[in-house]
Symmetry: C2
Subunit: 487 residues, 2 copies
């Protein structure tokens, strides 16, 4: 069956109260697909019916996948009894996520009817700052004393495991409540029943602190191939765990943030299709205006430079300004993207500054040499083909000289066009090298100062490269015009 | 202990053959950290010693984390006996990954000494195309018949589980070898010993095909919160599984590819610090040259336009060209980043074309209006402050008129500068709208044609926007100069 057919089937079963079909669908269709189908049902009484007839083992998870709007609608339509049933099978982190999106009165009603221990956990989770380990962790996990046996451990899991977010990693503590290791559920299966946990536990485990950045946590999951990690408070006691499914969401969020910053747009909080138009505009406008204001330096530089005598002597130089700026920007843009991504995924850190600078410097020499040689040839071809034209070089009939009217075969044309190509390609050489150096120094310095390189360093890059390229352009043009006696 | 201290301790223990310390370190330090320390040991006989004295339960994993250069060095120094011991505890996917990086003679030696079933699996894995599900899967998994009991299942796991990549997800098949469900190891713990797997299995499981793109697989893991997924061949039989740790690597790889494409650089195959300089240059040069050639259209347009009469009448218009191009590029760049990322993470697909186009069109109206109003005010300020200067407007002493010499208080100055601001900001209005529309149409069309939008659509965007902006600029300038009688 296709996705759309399944969706129609679910909606039909709900609207027409086909209970046995609906139960079969809940067994055989993944929860997230059911949640998506339920989003399309307008009549809240039909949704309430589903929550009453289907086991809350399923519905609690499905509820957590619904949009905040639908969640609010359902909570408002729920009796206290319905709400208690829903909360019984809910995890604290899901409840905290839901409550954060609700108006105050709805949130406080949920907290009022929640069981005391859930309420305590949710309130605790709501206190952690966004983007910290605390904000993505959950408080339902299994911790055991290192002196209990494998048999006792399995019994405890049978008793309490259903309330935990995962039983695949069991966190082991000593008498002083200090974490000393982890035991995988598979370790318990492979071990002898009488072994103590301290004998079979992995002692090479890693933990994070509740205030760590979620990006650091994601990098640790990747590095250590984890499925769950303990979160410690300032006293080094475990207060929660983070599971890999939440980390996958964090990784995507962080990648999206890097891409957004590199593309000069504030990151979206919701999915693209769920973000309203006015919010999209608010995400787009500030950066464009900031860049427009920063661009004033470029405008100012070009205004001064185009009035320089050499631009009157070789007016065709103006036509190459966009090529010059684009190429410098592209060369620096490549490097800054590698820097920002490398810093984010911990491939290197600001303390590798000289290693990275050396690598980009050497790379830039090769890249700049290749580009400027190519550009020299290409720009000469452009002039011969008449793609760009020179006011000072016309045929007797007043046309711009080019291959099409034979006006390009004079020594003066050759000299003019080769010198022009030389000026532009030499400028490219310098600006391609400089742009890569600036694109290393800027973000690594910003990162060393513990600021976000994607937001602080990147906007400055274009302006710096543009202005430096223009000034270099003027300098080289003036010198070359003198050397080759062009006037 | 800090990371560096641990590293020094490991290196010291190896170099000075401190066996009991080394064993303790292998127990308490994560494998990846040990692998990194071992990379720093030059003397291969010291590394060989580690592989001989430490259990291959640890060393096989550590070996898979070493760099290809170190792996090759070790294999060449290994006796066949050493190699067999290493391979006994290795997973087929790790061996396949290693072999792919080795010279042919080293690869064939590894395959020759490998046990027959491992050799078969590795050869099979090597056949799958890069970036497919087959290329990231492993062949070591646990599959059971749906009619066996929980007790029998646990016994089988105890017997065969150590050879499987994961025992947390058990794949269940019926008599015809068709997959019918999955059982979590936790389900086995919670169930009664006499239950049959068919009674407790999850029937709402998802699978992928061996030829599916790895990006699709990663999107399914994210959507369905999976830790392992079965990979089916064309006959719908399970031939392998993919685990979440490999998916995390895929997700990062795919995000890096999107970022690389948006930044005009070919994606790196190795980590940044491991990529040699010449390879970096090869990744950078082609795109810059392609963009330089595409930029010829912009050069041509600017060359034609700057010779138009209106640019002689209002020469200050040239100074605003970079601002115009940057703003159009930034506005389109925001949208194309959202498109390419949204398509990659399946937030939408080409069939949402009109929904997305409508959203970007409405957004662009707000963004363009905001920018052009701001730009009108800002560009006027620039002219009054003398940030840009007008050849036609000078004071009696020959200075460019501005607020600093009072030359800006004439009606002529006000008219000239307001009309100039109007021309630039009207052009911005149109190019900001157009750029967002092009940035939707181009990538979604390319994606609908099953080509990669990041590579095909993005380079064209800048050129199209630049040329359209310049032509619009000329048109608006000519009309405005006529309307306001500027000559």
């Amino acid at each position: 069956m296709s996705e759309i057919q399944v969706k129609d089937l679910i909606i039909d079963a709900i609207k027409n109260k086909k209970l046995s079909l609906l139960k079969e669908l809940f067994e055989t269709v993944p929860n997230i697909d059911i949640a998506e189908a339920m989003e399309d049902i307008e009549d809240v009484t039909q949704i309430i019916w589903v929550f009453r007839v289907i086991s809350s083992e399923y519905t609690s998870y499905i509820f957590s996948e619904l949009s905040p709007e639908t969640q609010e609608k359902i909570i408002n339509a729920f009796s206290d009894k319905d709400l208690i049933k829903l909360l019984e099978n809910s995890f604290a982190d899901d409840v905290a996520d839901t409550i954060e999106e609700m108006p105050a009165n709805v949130a406080s009603r949920v907290l009022k009817v929640a069981p005391a221990d859930l309420r305590k956990d949710v309130n605790q989770l709501l206190n952690y700052k966004e983007n910290t380990a605390g904000s993505v962790m959950t408080t339902e996990f299994i911790m055991m004393l290192d002196t209990i046996t494998v048999k006792e451990a399995i019994e405890q899991i049978r008793k309490k495991g259903k309330d935990a977010e995962t039983v695949y990693t069991i966190f082991v503590r000593d008498k002083s409540r200090t974490p000393v290791g982890t035991v995988g559920l598979d370790d318990l299966i492979f071990a002898n029943e009488e072994d103590e946990l301290s004998e079979i536990m992995n002692r090479d485990f890693v933990t994070c602190s509740v205030n760590d950045d979620q990006e650091e946590v994601a990098n640790m999951f990747k590095r250590y191939d984890l499925t769950a990690m303990a979160v410690l408070n300032n006293d080094k006691k475990i207060i929660g765990i983070i599971t890999v499914d939440d980390v996958i969401d964090v990784m995507e969020e962080e990648a999206n943030e890097d891409i957004a910053a590199l593309s000069h747009v504030a990151p979206l909080e919701d999915s693209y299709l769920d973000t309203p138009v006015y919010k999209m505009a608010v995400k787009c406008i500030p950066w464009i205006i900031i860049l427009l204001v920063l661009g004033t330096f470029t405008t100012m530089a070009l205004d001064r430079i185009e009035k320089a005598p050499v631009f009157a002597t070789i007016p065709v130089l103006i036509a190459f300004v966009p090529a010059l700026m684009d190429t410098g920007g592209n060369s620096g843009g490549q490097t800054i993207a590698l820097m920002i991504r490398g810093l984010a995924t911990k491939e290197f850190s600001p303390k590798d500054f000289f290693k990275v600078l050396r690598k980009e410097l050497l790379t830039s020499l090769i890249v700049a040499a290749a580009i400027s040689v190519f550009a020299f040839v290409w720009f000469t071809i452009e002039q011969y083909l008449g793609i760009v034209t020179n006011d000072n070089l016309k045929t007797a009939s007043g046309e711009f000289a080019s291959i099409w009217n034979g006006g390009c075969w004079s020594i003066e044309f050759a000299k003019h066009s080769l010198v022009t190509s030389l000026i532009v390609s030499l400028t490219l050489l310098i600006s391609a090298i400089l742009s890569k150096i600036v694109a290393v120094v800027l973000p690594l310095t910003v990162a060393a100062l513990k600021k976000d390189p994607a937001i602080v360093a990147q906007p400055l890059l274009t302006t710096i490269i543009d202005v430096v390229s223009l000034v270099t352009y003027l300098g080289i043009a003036t010198i070359m015009a003198k050397i080759f006696h062009i006037a």
